[in-house]
Symmetry: C2
Subunit: 220 residues, 2 copies
Amino acid sequence: MRYSPSKENYLKTIFHLQEEEGVVTTNALARALDTSPASVTDMLKKLKTQKLLLYEKYKGFKLSLEGRKVALQIIRKHRLWEVFLVEKLRFGWEEVHEIAEELEHISSKKLVDHLDKFLDFPTTDPHGDPIPDANGKIPLIKQISLRDLPINIIAAVCNISDQSPEMLELLTHKGIGLGTKLEIKKKFSFDNSLELNIRNHQPITISENVARNVFVTHEE
Amino acid sequence: MRYSPSKENYLKTIFHLQEEEGVVTTNALARALDTSPASVTDMLKKLKTQKLLLYEKYKGFKLSLEGRKVALQIIRKHRLWEVFLVEKLRFGWEEVHEIAEELEHISSKKLVDHLDKFLDFPTTDPHGDPIPDANGKIPLIKQISLRDLPINIIAAVCNISDQSPEMLELLTHKGIGLGTKLEIKKKFSFDNSLELNIRNHQPITISENVARNVFVTHEE
DNA sequence: TTAAGTTTTTAGATTTGTCTAAATTTAAAT
DNA sequence: ATTTAAATTTAGACAAATCTAAAAACTTAA
Ligand SMILES: [Mn+2]
Ligand SMILES: [Mn+2]
Ligand SMILES: [Mn+2]
Ligand SMILES: [Mn+2]
């Protein structure tokens, strides 16, 4: 089955909100899709008719098994294209999301699978988000917030939860990117700001607010 | 300015028909786009309003300078993506057209230019068609039909004008592809069929109809 | 030069995805 | 338990791209 870009965007966004918030509301979905609540209701009815959504009016809604499957395929495509743009076409990680929003709707299944192979089956995208495999299975990645990293332990940045251009600009300026190896040297209890060491760099300071949005993995 | 996929397809198709036939008619365009003449007329009016088309009803139409510019950008994208699919993702040249029909509508200009660079600025697509540069300039390639190639002269296949799956299947079977070096050994005046030599192959025979659609370049 | 035939355009509908404004239902507060 | 407020859905409309059937304009050929 093939669905319109608009429907695919709905399914994908519902999936993300479901993950983050557990339950999704009409208003939240409208906000996320930058559209009106009335339009959302219209679309929910269509998605229900196509059995992509379980929906009772006024009672709430969630993806059906089929809807979830479609959403995961879109997410897979989105993230693979992001890898392609950064790894092969040398885009910066902050510019690729918008382009991937379009590329994710290219329909050919064969294309995605060839791309996956061409990229050597990556497991995370340039923002550290996991890439579902061809069956929609998401690799599990255990990560902690930089805020909770103990002092003097070397860790690698693996995800940035706030991916706004402002945040990415700040991180780029400080020399923090995906895969950056760093170590907390000091925590200031006054404002919970952190002083970090990055190899071959001057020590840098970041606020709690930044630290909360940077996720890292470290050896046991 | 950004145009809908549908409008882009109209512009591109008008451009191609203009090249091939000189003048384009409502019916021919409807046939090429697999739609009704009435729909074509509707769209022509819209394209005129947007100054992409010079159009007087019942009198005919042709692309404006701006329309031609847009068409060439779509063609550029289409052919670059085809190169990518064949060269990088290892698709067969007969499978890429359909996928490129979708990819050509991805809007990012920067994406196309990065792709162009990544592919090392190719001048022809996998079917031998020339790729317009970023300014819409098409490289000139002088080529002659295989039908008109003199005997005993080595030439390289550079273009196939009939790109139907049937034709491509036949050529693939005979071992003829883009870049194939070949030489006519005999012309049969009875039916104008040709006997060819291809390096490391048995001699093969092709009909006039096939030869007419295969274009080659050869040294002076 | 009139009649036929062909091509092109208009008229009127339909589908998809969207909107605003108004009504309805559910939830919260007095 | 009402009243008020918030969330959600309906009603009615619109733009884009398409359709079929019918009308209008051009072409061709007797
Ligand atoms: Mn999208
Ligand atoms: Mn991403
Ligand atoms: Mn297309
Ligand atoms: Mn081509």
